[in-house]
Amino acid sequence: MLTSRATEGAAPEPGATSEPAATVLEVRGITKSFGDRFANDHVDLTLKAGEIRALLGENGAGKTTLISVLCGQYRPDAGTVAVRGWPLPPGSPRAALAAGIGVVHQDFRLVPRFTVTENVVLGTDSWGGRKVEQKVAEHAAAAGFQLDPGTPAWSLSVGELQQLAILKLLYRGLDILILDEPTAVLSPPQAAELFNSMRKLADGGRSIIFITHRLREVIAVADEVTILRHGKVVADREVAGLDALQMSVLMIGSDAAARHIASRAGNPGEVVLKLESATVEGRGVRALDRVGLEVRRGEIVGVAGISGNGQNALADVAAGIVRPMAGSRTCIASAVAYIPEARMERGLVGAMSVSENLSLRQYRRPAMSHPLWIWSHRMTSLARRLIDAFSIPVKNPDSRVADLSGGGLQRVLLARELDEQPDLIIAAQPTRGLDVASSAMVRSHLVGHRDRGAGVVVISEDLDEILELSDRVLVLFKGAVVGEYSRGSFDRAEIGLRMGGEGTD
């Protein structure tokens, strides 16, 4: 309540509470299921004006589903959403936008062929033109973004694309902002900058929900946190007073510390893969710029960096799929395992069954087939063995692999690639989007193979993961190696800077 009328007009005393902030968003009982799986199970959530609320949960907990409901893309099976007291019509992106709800999705949802301006005004009353470009430039400057209104979106970096997505929301005057895992594509210093901007926006009256699975971020910027687990809300409270361990227990339901893989130092042997000055160029851009990389048996080399800085090219060249245009690749491994970043798009065949996907490397072997006939019972028994060994969540090995979840797909990939006891393993973003249990399994397999004597390259945008697993770390920025560190001399702050292109002399 306001202080008494006698002091009306005087500035509020510092520390005095002004009127309680209005509730801008009220979510009650949202339930959404796919088949027999509840992605959201009677979720309640409240958001007040000027508040930054973190939506925390491991991958697969239902965070993205909830915001898909909020922005009108999904229709909930049950439950209501109210904006400032008024019920929001479900399943209508236009209604959500009109109500002031704006989302920056993980995949940004922009049109690559459109310019910055066209992307910003898409869905509003205008199409572009000089005057509108002016306005867009002004808004961009006000937000501290360096975006030229005329540039095509396909030429922007990942960080700039995120800025563009945010600019869209600001331009349209949306004041309930939802950001889905925004720091995944940022270096630690850039993430800190984002948090500053978020704070400023919130202080200015906007309300922000931001999704993350990283506890450190919740503590850094959020006022309140809602924790989801298996689609249900398991906690809803102020961040002040919560510590990381408590949050972690709420998030995954058991002692989080046990999930960490203790990585002992390996015993590196001979060099299994050597890249010298490898360069890959395409469309006038250097995807890889004179990269040097050495991997020995029994060691894990981690490649840190923000997505879009050459990771794909590096993975392709290291695995031997793409030949570098300049420089060389020497590899003495007889079996190379490749776990690509885009699991479905590059590593599996969606229309084929789990069992067929598991046999993709072996179907030509004499054990599995002879030129005129494939022994399908052998394919099935291989599948059953691998499904067991890797706990692949599938009942029928003949079901389509496209029906599996992210964690399931990754298990299929791992099973197929690692079954051959490879000498060299290239893993690109191996735990991205996976729930904690699956992530732990992936990491333990990688470490296990390292201990067995394989050389492992792990490319990941999760710096904590890299630091935990690797014996040596390289930092990749704009296709070049800008830093190299060995275990014992990992400097998190410096690596973070280099990931964003700073800190080099």
Binding site: W86, P87, S92, A99, K200, G204, E345, P371
Partner: protein, 366 residues
């Protein structure tokens, strides 16, 4: 307030539905056709009766159906085979005609061949011609990614024109006075019939080809690799599979099958190259393959059903119904079947809801 219709994907339609819906769709198509017949002044019941009599209700009808099924099975196989590597072969029509043309050429001019070799020689020529015709479309697709749908379509028209040129020109029947067919082929060039019937052995060949294709694509390692390439080109590349090579080989095979269909139709039915040797067999093949969900063995069933419909509609013509109605009924049935597919895949929800909140003043602050 607005009414909104939205679709929700079903996870798995029950088996009962998966059988009932297509049946209902065919029935709906027949009913719609009946309406058109009635509007045209015909009695639908009579009409459908004669359709039944003409196709499955009599021994003659069944034989006619089997004869008609032969080219349909093969053109359907051609499309289904190409789908294995992810390509749409819409050029079955042209490959069919080119196959028939090449077979005619061998039959008319290979006078130095000993008797028993003429027929196999013609059939082989048909396959090779069809394969070549398809390869003309396959190579640009494999090399530069040029859409094979357009190229194969155009090649259809070129093939027809080529055939026309030959049957009106150098191969014209001197007694035909401008009618659209070539000289007759020698007796040795006729396909034998199944003893005790009018049905030529083409249908047997067609089923054998179907089984062979199924074995090749579903049971051999090479076929497996083709399906990987067709299922996901990137993954196939990562596994070191040569995509372009497979595209060309499989499309050539597809063309060979369609060319075979043409050669068989020539030697089993018409015995001369003529305008209208193909009654949209190539395009029907696309529909047949689609309705069989691309399954190679399923194509046989799908083609038989299609043939029943086609032969039935010929019988219809004898009762005075204009030929186009048969085409219309076929197309309508396909449309209903497609709608039925959608009904199996989705559940329809119709809801009434307010369009938006009360206008919210979303002012820009700070």
């Amino acid at each position: 307030m607005s009414v909104s219709i939205h679709l929700e994907r079903r996870l798995n339609a029950r088996l009962a539905m998966r059988i009932a819906v297509p049946v209902a769709a065919v029935a709906a198509g027949l009913v719609a056709g009946g309406v058109i017949l009635a509007l045209g002044g015909h009695d639908p019941i009579d009409a459908y009766n004669s359709m039944w009599e003409g196709s499955l209700g009599s021994s003659d009808g069944i034989q006619a159906t089997l004869i008609k099924a032969c080219p349909l099975v093969l053109t359907g196989l051609a499309v289904a085979t190409a789908l294995r590597v992810g390509l749409w072969n819409i050029g079955g029509e042209g490959q069919f005609i080119i196959g028939a043309t090449a077979a005619t050429g061998v039959g008319l001019y290979a006078t130095s061949l000993p008797g028993p070799l003429v027929l196999p020689g013609m059939i082989l020529a048909g396959c090779l011609a069809g394969a070549t015709w398809a390869t003309i479309a396959a190579i640009p697709r494999a090399l530069i990614g040029l859409n094979e749908i357009i190229v194969t379509l155009f090649l259809n028209y070129i093939a027809i024109l080529l055939m026309d040129h030959l049957i009106f020109g150098p191969w014209a029947d001197p007694k035909a006075f401008g009618f659209a067919y070539s000289r007759a082929l020698p007796d040795a060039a006729m396909l034998p019939v199944i003893p005790g019937s009018y049905v030529h052995i083409g249908i047997v060949i067609a089923v054998l080809v179907a089984v062979t294709c199924w074995w090749l694509m579903e049971r051999t390692p090479w076929g497996f690799s083709v399906r990987v390439a067709g299922g996901n080109a990137r993954t196939a590349e990562y596994l070191g599979l040569h995509i372009s090579r497979r595209m060309v080989i499989v499309l050539a095979l597809s063309g060979a099958i369609a060319g075979l269909a043409g050669a068989i139709e020539l030697t089993g039915v018409t015995n001369r190259l003529q305008d209208g040797i193909s009654v949209n067999y190539g395009y029907s093949g696309v529909l047949i393959a689609f309705l069989a969900r691309g399954r190679l063995l399923g194509v046989v069933v799908s083609a038989l059903l299609f043939a029943t419909l086609v032969v039935g509609s010929y019988a219809l013509q004898t009762t005075g119904v204009a030929q186009p109605i048969a085409t219309i009924i076929q197309a309508l049935i396909i449309v209903f079947l497609l709608a039925g597919d959608a009904a199996l895949a989705f559940r329809v929800h119709i809801t009434r809801a307010p369009r938006a909140l009360e206008p919210v003043a979303a002012g820009v602050r700070s």
